[in-house]
């Protein structure tokens, strides 16, 4: 029997799991009417969010990254959560080129924003971070 359409993926905070996460969400997204270019954008956005969970969220100790995706009214909704260190100042973190790690570009949030329709970031220092992105196939009429 068929149930609603969603996926939940849990992975430990390893850098080599970033590729797995984006492949899975890319494969899930393929059931919507996305172009290949849009699927690439989704993969980049997921890659950024999962990289942040691994690199920033769990910089002190390892933990679990939870990736959820579902289809809501023809849109893809993806959220990436960690129970890591959290973000003190979300507005500042979202500014392009801001990073707390000198070698990093600070472009992760900018990429997530450009490659999704909507981005929301919830975070509490000491509790963790959840990033939620939505994207609708563009050549489809709304409804």
């Amino acid at each position: 029997m068929n149930a609603a359409d969603y996926m939940i993926l849990e992975l430990p905070s390893r850098e080599d799991n970033v590729a797995l996460a984006r492949v899975v969400v890319g494969a899930f997204a393929a059931r919507l009417d996305f172009t290949l270019a849009e699927i690439e954008e989704i993969k980049v956005a997921v890659s950024e969010a999962v990289t942040n969970a691994v690199v920033h969220g769990y910089r002190e100790s390892p933990g679990v990254v939870r990736i959820q995706a579902h289809v809501d009214d023809g849109r893809l909704v993806v959220s990436v959560s960690d129970r890591g260190v959290g973000i003190e100042d979300i507005a500042q973190a979202r500014e392009p080129a801001f990073s707390t790690v000198p070698e990093r570009m600070g472009m992760g949030f900018a990429f997530m924003e450009s490659f999704s329709d909507e981005l929301s970031v919830e975070s509490m220092p000491g509790q963790g971070t959840t990033v939620r992105m939505t994207k609708r196939p563009q050549h489809r009429t709304v409804g």
């Binding site: 850098e15 590729a19 990289t51 990093r104 472009m107 990429f111």
Partner: protein, 107 residues
Amino acid sequence: MLKLSFRQDNGWLRASVQGELDVASAPVFRARIQEALDEHQVRRLVLDLRDLTFIDSSGVGAILGRYRQLAALRGEMRVVGVSARIRPVLELSGLGRIVPLERAQGR
């Protein structure tokens, strides 16, 4: 995930990058290029991205890191073979304002 192959060409080191460049493969990218630059004793690098199938901001950061390092040594860097697949990420990152991005033919 990531494969690099090198050849020397008229004073330039040409690195062909194949696979995916992200947070996991960036350290490999950095180390292998450093090794090859040392080995060939050159300060001019062409990155051929024709067979790069994925890149995100960690990957762009790794490319930019090579650029900065070479610039500090008064070297040069070029990026060629930019396919339609990865062009959106490279353009959005602003890398094109620093290093000219040369397209892949017919892509």
